[in-house]
Every structure is written in C-alpha cells, then in structure tokens.
Amino acid sequence: MLGTKVVKAAGASVKIYGPGKVPVELIVDGQKHKLEIEPRVTLLDALRDELQITGAKRVCDRAECGACTVIIDGKAVYACAVLAIAVQGKQIATVESLMQGDKLHPIQQAFVENDASQCGFCTPGFVIALKAFLDKHPNASPEEVRRGLSGNVCRCGTYHGIQQAIAQLAQRGA
C-alpha cells in the first residue's frame, strides 16, 4: 500500500500515507462515502465514528470476539482488524443492509423467533457472520455452521437460541 508522500526510511525513499488526515473513500451498503481520516483509523472506527453506522459493535477491538463483523467482497471480516484506508473500492456490507424496508432477513427472523439475543450487543456480529457463511455454504450442516460461527462470542449465553435459529434455517432451507 503505497502513499503519495515520500520520506526517507532506512536510507531508502518510501512512499507513505499520512501522518495526518488523508481522503478515504468507502463503499458501504452500496453507498459511496468520502472521509478525511488518519491512515491508522480502523474500518470499524470509520464506520462507527465517522459514518455513524453502528450495527458493527466495538468490543475487543483486537479480532477476538466477532462483534464488529462485516462482509467485504463476500467474505466475513473483523472490521476492527482492517484499516479503513485498505478497503477502499471494496464492497462493504454491514448488518444494516440485511433488512428490506421493515422486513427482517430470514436469518434475523430466525434469531427473533428463537430468542437468540439477550443484551444484543454481540447479535449483529452473529447475524452478519451467519449471513456470510450461509452465502458461501448454503447446504452446510448445523455442525458446520457452528464451526463457521466459532469466531463470534456472546457473554449473555445466547448460543442455545442461535443453535435453534440455525436448525430452523436449515429446516426451512434458507
């Protein structure tokens, strides 16, 4: 990732971004956003603090819990572990993109029916991670789905509800 500014480092000329704010363009849920942020700002912080898109939650901030999961070009990614500047031009999908108007996505509906959230802070991460997994593996067994979601953590203990939701989705062929 080469920037526009040239500095000397270890005797060589290196192109860098920053320090200070630089223009960054993100495509979030199909919409283009122009930002002025420091290169060190994570995608998660850019979404939350710059764009006020807050479905992705900040919990561990170190790629350990999955609460900030978003989908980038079809792949589930921890938004706390990538820099915003590094995902310019890519399609970023947040949990906010799943509802169609007032209609919940089938995954969301299954979460509601099976009470797969309590405090709900980890829930958007689980929902979007499950979406990414099922998009890739539409015929996965519940066991495979559980493994696919093992990068997400819940404190209230909603896993039972999540498993029920997964089972229901499998049954309905969602």
């Binding site: 807050t54 919990v59 509601v112 959230s117 309590q118 802070f121 209230c156 896993y159 039972h160």
Partner: protein, 789 residues
C-alpha cells in the same frame, strides 16, 4: 377495592406464554442504539491514563506536552501527586480530544512518575495464624495511615503496641513529614520496636472474621460414621460485558448535564453524580436505550463517568465519551471475589449430615471481602466456620450474578458430593436424604430433583466414581441445588391512555438483556385486553418515573407489580367513563380482545378506540407503584429453588473437559414470559460452563498486573462449548400463585458445582478449584497415580 391480583390461569391470554422479546427486531437489525453508539454533536473522545503498577505512589504528573497538542480540548488530573494507586489500571489522568487517534497521542504524551510499592495479588491459602493478630505495621501500613490522616493518637498507639516490620529510612520519614505527619508521629516511627517478618506476607493483608459455631461440631465430627475432607473453591473472574463500561456526558448549559451511560441503574445514577459535580441531581438527565450487559457490575457512576463530565465542563460542555478499552474493562471494571475452603463434613452411615467444619478464604480486592454462605442451603446442625479475607491489589470486586452463591455452591455441593462418594451413595440419594434441612423450599427441591433426574436420564447413566471410562474418555454426572431471594424493587409506572386509544407507559427502568421491556408490555396488554404491539413503552430515562436498579433478580417483580397496579387503575378509570354508554355499572365491564364490554355479553361492547373516545379531550394518566400496601396483594415473592445436573466427558490424556448435557429445573413463581425466562436459564448455564471450565483473572505476582486482559486469553464459552441444554420451568399450582420472582441470579449458581461434581465422578478424584482447566485435571490425575504407586 379493585382487584390487583394476577389473573387466574384460565383467564391469561399473554402471561406465561412463549412470547418473543419485543426488542429483538431492533437488536438483530443493528438498529438498537446502545450508549457506545451515541455520537453527540461535536463529540470529544476521552482517554484515561492508567497506573501500570498494582500499588504505587504518584510522584509527579506532567501534562505540558499534552496540553500543547492540536486537537486536545481538556486535560483532567484524576489522582493528584501524593495519591496511592491500589491496583494496576487505576485511573490517574484523562484527556479529551477531537478524535480518538489524537486522544491516544495525547494520553501517551503525559509523563507520570511513580514510586512503586509492595503489592499483593495472590489469593493463595493464608499462612497459619494470619490475620489473627494484626502483626507489626509495614511501611505501606504507615503510608496508608498517614495518607488517610489517621488520628495521631491512634497511629502512635499502634506503632508502640504492634511495632514495625521495616527499618525507617530518612527519605521515607522526610516524605511522611511532607505529607503532614506530625513530629510526634515521626518520633514514634523512629522508636517503634522492629519485628523481623521477612519472607512472610504482612499480616495486614489478612482479615480474619469471627469464628461462627453452632451446636457441637467437635463432638458431632468425632461421632460421625463417615468424615470426608476436601479442598474446594472458585477463582476470581471478570464480568467482561460485551458493551464496555462507560458514558458520554455533555453540559447542555452551565447548570445542566446530560449523560448517556451503560447502566443497570438508570434512576440511581443522577444522585451519584450530583455531589462530585456539585449540581443538584435534578439537573442531571440520564439516558439509555439499550444496554450491552452488566451482570452486576454496572450500578455506579464510576470514576471514569465523573471524569467524562469534568472533561466536558472544561471543554465548554461538548459531549465527552469515555468507553473503557477492553483491557481496562477486564482489569478494573469488575471482579467476582474468589472463595476457597478446606472442608470437613461428617455424616451417619445412612447419609444423614451431622457435622461441618470449614476454614475458608478468598479475595474481593482492596476491601478483602466476606465469607460465602457456607454450608450452602443445607443447615447442618453442628458446624464451625472460619473465614479469612485477603486484601489484594487486584482492583475492587463488584457484584457478579448471585453474589457469593456460586462460590458457596461450589464449596458445599463439592464437599457433599465427595462425602456421597465416600458413603458409596449416589449424590442424588444423599441430597434427597437431607432435604429436611434445606428449609422452606424442600418440597420444591424434591419435585425438581425428580424432574431433573428424568430429563438427565440420571438413573440409567449413573455409575460410581471413576467407573465409566472407555478408550481414554471418562464420563460422569454431577448435580447441585441453589436458592435466591428476589422480591420486587421499588418501581413507579406511569400509564397513559389517550382519547384516540393509544397507550403509553413511562418508567425509569432499564432492560439489561433480561426481557424487562417484554415483561412490562405483556402485563399491560394482558390487563387492558390489548395486543402487546398496542403498548408504547418508554424506559431508560430520568424523565420517566423512577424504578429500581436491576440487581438481585428484583426487576421482574418490581416492574410487573407497578405496571399491573397502573393498568388495573387505568382500566377501572376507563370503565367509569365508558359504563353509561354501555348502560352498565363500571364493575360489570371487562376489556378483552381489544374491546370493552359487559362481562359475558359480547353484544354490549365497544371497540377499545370507541371506548377511549369517552375519555374526553385529556388523556388519562395513572401512576402505579411497587411496593404499595394500600393496593394489595403483594404481587411479588421471594425465595426460589433450582436444580442443575451436568453430564461431562473428560479426555484422560489431555485433561480437556467437555460438557455433554446440562439440565436446569427452576422455580421463579409466576412466569410472565416463558420464552425469555427459559433464555435466562440457557444463558446462565452457558455462563456457568464458562466460569466452570475457562474463566479466571490471572495475576502476575511479580508485576501485579492481570495477565489476560483480553478476549483471547480471558476465554468465554463459545458456540462449540455448548452441549444439549435442557430447561424445565416450574409452573402451575404451587408456583404461579406465589407471584412474580426474578430469574437473573438463581440459574447461574449451580453450574460450576454440578460440572465440578461431574468431573469428580468421571475421573475419580476432585479437581479442587474452578475453572477446571486441563492442567488442573492432569494434576489431580497425577495425585491418584502417586497414591496408587
């Protein structure tokens, strides 16, 4: 007098049914707004500089470089030079800046000098005699005494009588004098007799509580047919709320504050902020829509919350956000005290419990902490308990779901399970044998143990200790029982019926993920004969009538009672207005399926909307309260019983424990929403698996710091750790008529004990302390191997 009682079972249309959590759609869609999501106008980002040392005196603080940084809007010194920090991560200085990156730079530019002091982070068993006599004063003790301005007379007396464990250096004496110690005190330090206690922990770390004795434990123990001795305990764990502690505060004018805060205690926070901010509580507005977990750790306006308000004031009132980073969340924002015990328990050959002796210890941080209620539930007639609290620099303890009960259950149920093994009895039989000494819930336990045993397949699966191993995998069963109080907290509920038929409820409560919103709307809708969607509920703001903090499983009792009273009174006031139109007496009316009608006569009815139009131009507002002796009956109750059974597998080569199945059978009086009630039990078992197998705050004795303040090494249970979970809620006759009782605490009490007992049953030996990590399993197995060799 109107009848406020809960409707009879056959009349209930919503109460007790499986109803989906009303705020689920907001949560699954990412639309639910949490404190962390609030972004105030021109918001500044606060960062706290924390002590890297577990105990140290702050010598100097230099903020010059920070104040010059562009984008820094406020700097606030939380603890001045001369203060002593008592745990690593303690707050020292805070900054507010225009964005987070700048705030981080600003925090990094602050220079703080500390003088390190001796710390204590170990909660290992206290040495014999520790805490029985106060022992000589250490340098820390003298430092604390001077820092806390202990009266001269008291300090001089302590120095003369107890002596000191150090040789005072001139530098120290000079510093103490600078801190305000009188010449008399300095002289007394010089003259105090020196006692060499090198290599020992200073006695002042240990606080021994009075020995409690009942009956004649020595005689009973001597006469017991069987005596079992063992070591049991549970370590310090964290709350690790997914939404970190924190708040955003702004001064809306020079006298008024608006605080968005992640709290279990919306109505109680303003009162805590008023004094330090020197403004009336009435000038402070608290707001919270959704809340990302508290588990007992979020009742206070914490120091960082007050700090955000101070930074905001310095920055001209701009909102300042301080949400804790994950390491701070784990280091300073919550700890469940540890508790360990050496237990001796005696019984007759038939299993009748006769004697208990325990020497327990544990730590709850700088305050030490209390003894868990042991022996738990079983009132063994002859007993002696001794407890030593250890004061440590690990950060303060906070209430963690069912304070002290999970530890008490682990110690007691573990000891009884070992006794059962020694008697060659199944623990199920031993528990049933002794139900007479379990108090008022004994018939509940009897019924629940039977149901749990059936759901677990206990009788078919049960094998004696260590007798169920094949191909290196040992399998075992364990059980535990628990109790909790409950009752309903103070709650005020405003219910408003508008002439157009719309209904709103306002209450200064909070939904911490337990389903409080759902509870309130079900009660109101049931009472008014409306669908739950017809109730517009507003909570989480001091603009609404106050309601208690969500702790101790008191919220369902509180909010359901105040809502029921408000809804009954509102309904009756509406009946009075509507009766003439239906040519009936108010007492002849009922509201059902969205209509107001003459009881049993659907032909004389009005739609809800038509009925409400009779109210005239002004909405009807009614206040319901809990408690309210003028409006009986008491709609809540206290005291529940529950049972947990666990089926585990242990890999004898690696020591890895996997829970295969868990059963929870729980009583909580009248259930408002069966679906969320069951979720509380599923969640509690899941948390239980976490603290039984994985969770522990680990401290480095050398640096005094927590070693695992992150979510990789402070491991919570994950989806793959969760086995088949079975929940059975006790409902119907004998339970419903007790009234509403909360469910946050009880089901989280027993899982640790049940899993520990199942592991002992599987591998044939007790792993004394939770969490049961593979290293502890292997250590326990090597003890058997040694004993056999």
């Amino acid at each position: 007098m109107p009848d406020y009682s809960w409707p009879e079972a056959e009349q209930r249309t919503l109460i007790g049914k499986r109803i989906s959590r009303v705020d689920s759609p907001a949560k699954v869609s990412g639309r639910a707004q949490y404190t962390y999501d609030y972004h105030g106008p021109n918001m500044l980002f606060g960062k706290v500089v924390r002590s890297p040392y577990a105990k140290a005196k702050i010598v100097s603080i230099d903020t010059t470089a920070t104040e010059k940084l562009p984008g820094v809007k406020a700097v606030h010194i939380i603890q001045k030079p001369g203060s002593t920090v008592q745990w690593a991560g303690d707050e020292v200085v805070a900054v507010a800046a225009v964005d987070e990156a700048t705030a981080e730079d600003a925090a990094r530019a602050i220079k703080i000098q500390y003088r390190k002091m001796a710390h204590m982070v170990s909660d290992a068993e206290p040495p014999a005699g520790a805490g029985e006599t106060p022992g000589p004063l250490s340098g820390d003790d003298v430092d604390d005494a001077i820092g806390n301005q202990m009266p001269d007379k008291q300090l001089i007396e302590a120095l003369e009588q107890r002596g000191v464990s150090f040789k005072p250096e001139e530098d120290d004496l000079k510093e103490w004098k600078n801190e305000g110690a009188s010449d008399d005190v300095i002289n007394a330090i010089r003259k105090a007799p020196f006692h060499n206690v090198e290599g020992e922990q200073p006695h002042s770390y240990f606080q021994k509580a009075a020995v409690q004795t009942q009956g004649d434990p020595d005689k009973a123990m001597a006469e017991a047919d069987v005596v079992s001795e063992g070591l049991y305990g549970a370590s310090v764990i964290a709350h690790c709320c997914m939404e970190a502690h924190g708040s955003v505060t702004e001064w809306t004018d020079k006298d008024h504050v608006l605080t968005h805060i992640s709290t279990q205690n919306v109505s109680g926070i303003a009162g805590q902020m008023a004094e330090p901010l020197e403004i009336p509580a009435a000038n402070i507005r608290i707001h919270q829509d959704h809340m990302g977990g508290g588990f007992g750790s979020k009742f206070a306006a914490d120091r960082w919350d007050i700090t955000a308000a101070r930074l905001s004031k310095k920055a001209g009132g701009r909102p300042v956000r301080i949400m804790l980073e994950r390491d701070a969340e784990l280091e300073v924002a919550g700890a469940r005290p540890s508790a360990y015990a050496r237990v001796k328990v005696g019984a007759k050959r038939d299993g009748t419990l006769t004697a208990w002796q325990s020497r327990s210890w544990g730590t709850g941080g700088p305050g030490g902490g209390g003894m868990p209620p042991i022996p738990y539930i079983f009132s063994i007639p002859n007993k002696r308990t001794e407890h030593t609290a250890i004061r440590t620099n690990i950060g303060p303890a906070r209430a963690w779901r069912a304070p002290n009960h999970p530890q008490a259950a682990m110690i007691t149920m573990g000891a009884l399970d070992d006794l059962a093994a020694k008697l060659s009895m199944s623990p199920l039989d031993l528990w049933l044998k002794n139900l007479d000494i379990t108090g008022p819930r004994k018939e509940t336990y009897r019924e629940e143990l039977g149901i749990a045993a059936d759901l677990m397949g206990w009788k078919e699966k049960w094998k004696a200790r260590g007798q169920n191993t094949s191909e290196g995998i040992a399998r075992g069963l364990g059980l535990s029982i628990h109790t909790w109080g409950g009752r309903g907290h103070t709650s005020d509920c405003d219910l408003i019926i508008h002439p157009d038929g719309s209904v709103e409820i306002k209450m200064g409560t909070q939904d911490i993920g337990t389903g409080t919103r759902t509870t309130i709307v079900i009660v109101a809708a049931e009472t008014l004969g409306l669908p739950i969607e017809a109730i517009n509920l507003y909570i989480g703001d001091t603009l609404y009538p106050p309601s208690g903090g969500s702790g101790g499983s008191t919220t369902p009792g509180g909010v359901s009672s105040s809502t029921r009273r408000a809804a009954v009174d509102a309904r009756d006031a509406l009946f009075a207005k509507v009766a003439p139109a239906l040519n009936a007496q108010p007492s002849e009316l009922e509201c059902i399926n969205g209509t107001v009608r003459v009881k049993g006569d659907p032909s004389r009815s009005l739609s809800w909307k038509q009925a409400c139009s009779k109210l005239g131009a002004i909405p009807l507002t009614v206040r319901g309260k809990n408690p309210d002796k003028t409006k009986p009956p008491d709609l809540t109750n206290s005291g529940v019983g529950g049972v947990n059974m666990a089926d585990v597998e242990v890999d004898m080569e690696t020591g890895i424990v996997r829970v295969k199945k868990m059963v929870a059978v729980q009583d909580c009086g009248l259930i408002i929403d069966l679906k969320t009630a069951e979720s509380s039990c599923y969640g509690a078992m899941t948390m239980g698996i976490g603290y039984a197998l994985f969770e522990e705050k680990l401290f480095d004795p050398v640096t005094g710091r927590m070693l695992n303040p992150n979510m990789e090494f402070y491991r919570l249970a994950g989806l793959n750790d969760i086995p088949e979970l079975v929940v059975h809620m006790m409902t119907g006759k004998g339970y419903d008529e007790r009234g509403v009782i909360g469910l946050g605490e009880p089901p989280v009490i027993s899982p640790g004990a049940a899993i520990s007992n199942a592991v002992a049953n599987a591998i044939g030996v007790r792993v004394p302390f939770l969490p049961i990590t593979p290293d502890k399993v292997l250590a326990a197995l090597s003890q058997i191997a040694k004993a056999g060799a």
